[in-house]
């Protein structure tokens, strides 16, 4: 069976498995750091975009729109290959994390903003009328309701960031995809690519399923 020898070659898969695991570890590092940085930056951006002075709001909006328009690969190439010309030299890891978090922050900001804006004005007014401080209003009333709204789209965004880590292979980052392509070259056989695909799916499928489950249970609670 030629197809099995070519794409599902078990000895090749076993031989290259340690390489793929090293790649997975790098992918997870890039992904988790980018997701956390994106969340923090995104929440800050959302608050600035909602409550900042007018011109800061404009800047935040411009940033968000720009980062959502630029292809991630283009941004990554600019950061890694173009910034050194102006004296900013980032390691492949930092380049990948910067590009991923800058873009993720833009999407996260829009998610947080939508979540907070979805809370009716009456909730803010009722909290204020009771004498709750801004902190208590946010912690006890607004954010618990907003979190419920933003968790599914935030998880979706995390999935996208994890998938986009594959682009880091372009800047010579030894992530899962890069290791797989190298293993493929070494073994002169594309099975490691299939192995990488299986690993990506095995990691992300549970997250995808979790989002669907959350969305279903929220839809049920709203009825």
């Amino acid at each position: 069976m030629e197809i099995f020898d070519t794409f599902f070659n078990v000895p090749v898969l076993i031989r290259t498995f340690p390489l793929l695991m090293q790649g997975l570890w790098v992918t997870l590092q890039i992904g988790v750091v980018s997701i956390v940085a994106g969340l923090v930056l995104g929440l800050a951006l959302a608050l600035v975009r909602l409550y900042g002075p007018f011109w800061v709001q404009l800047l935040a909006r411009a940033y968000i729109n720009f980062m959502r328009s630029i292809p991630l690969l283009v941004l990554l190439i600019i950061i890694y290959y173009a910034l050194p010309f102006v004296g900013i030299r980032l390691s492949p890891f930092l380049s990948a994390v910067s590009a991923l978090s800058l873009v993720s922050a833009a999407y996260t900001a829009e998610i947080f903003r939508a979540g907070i804006e979805a809370i009716p004005r009456g909730q803010f007014e009722a909290s204020s009328a009771l004498g709750l401080s801004y902190r208590h209003m946010m912690v006890d009333v607004i954010l618990p309701q907003a979190i419920r709204i933003v968790i599914p789209p935030l998880t979706n965004n995390c999935i996208n960031v994890m998938k986009d880590t594959a682009l880091a292979s372009v800047v010579a980052m030894p992530d899962l995809l890069k290791q797989a392509t190298q293993a493929q070259a070494l073994a002169a056989n594309p099975s490691p690519l299939i192995g990488a695909a299986i690993i990506y799916v095995a990691f992300l499928l549970p997250l995808v399923a979790a989002v669907s489950k959350l969305e279903r249970s929220y839809a049920k609670a709203d009825r």
Binding site: P120, G122, Q123, E125, A126, S128, A129, L130, G131, L132, S133, H136, D140, V141, P144, Q145, R148
Partner: protein, 245 residues
């Protein structure tokens, strides 16, 4: 009579539109005042200024119990002493009825959870929904939700209760149960300012009725004066429109 709530030259603008044209009003402690008038007359805006849900012009001045209503650390104190009931209830949907009532006393007054729960259960029983305490607001009817909202405001032991069209969003058969709770509240010493379209309630319960139109107080007096012998043309027209149909 010295005003517990003193409103001086209250002006409110929304952009180029002037919603309130310099209102002067004193409300005594324990007084029940009903504010009536057509839609857009500024009556809701007026009571929303009392706890600064609407910011007003800097030349205007409102004091509640001697404390000036303004941005700053006095504001939370004023708001803690001034309860408000909204047309759309605005209960916290993620908290049970009991927790809705307990939240502000615990966070603002520092009441212990045990004391707050005891008080909340008393108040819920008083407004006739003691057995619904552990449900979420979404499971209650509009009339029940509005009574929870009244209990939530009362839990802060307010000196003043503001009602912003509390029965306007209710199905007709539920209006009575909310008005009954409000009637039982009148005469307990709490100062009440009620924006309402319920003329029967105003006539029966109010110490004073204020008729507003176009952002001004057109006429004010006892229910008998306003409803039986209105002096102003606009008051007569309004009452004619709402009472004879």
């Amino acid at each position: 009579m010295p005003g517990y709530i003193e409103i001086r030259n209250l002006q409110k603008k929304f952009g180029s539109f002037t919603a309130l044209h310099g209102i002067d009003l004193d409300i005594a402690e324990g007084e029940v005042v009903c504010v009536i008038g057509p839609s857009g007359s500024g009556k809701s805006t007026l009571i929303r200024c009392i706890n600064l849900l609407e910011p007003f012009e800097p030349t205007s001045r409102i004091t509640v119990g001697g404390t000036t209503v303004e941005r700053g650390h006095n504001l939370e104190k004023v708001r803690a002493d001034v309860g408000m009931v909204f047309q759309s209830f605005n209960l916290f949907p993620h908290l049970t009825v009991l927790r809705n009532v307990m939240l502000a006393p615990m966070r603002v007054r520092g009441t212990s959870p045990e004391a707050a729960e005891k008080r909340a259960r008393e108040l819920l029983a008083r407004v006739g929904i003691g057995e619904q305490a552990d449900k979420y607001p979404g499971k209650l009817s509009g009339g029940q939700q509005q009574r929870v909202a009244i209990a939530r405001a009362l839990a802060m032991d307010p000196k003043v209760m503001l009602f912003d069209e509390p029965t306007s969003a209710l199905d007709p058969e539920m209006v009575g149960e909310v008005l009954d709770v409000m009637k039982s509240l009148a005469g307990t010493g709490v100062t009440m300012v009620v924006v309402t379209h319920e003329m029967g309630f105003a006539r029966q319960v109010a110490d004073r009725v204020i008729f507003m139109d176009g952002g001004r107080i057109i006429e004010s007096g006892t229910p008998a004066q306003i409803f039986d012998t209105p002096q102003e043309e606009r008051t007569r027209n309004f009452l004619g429109a709402v009472l004879n149909h």
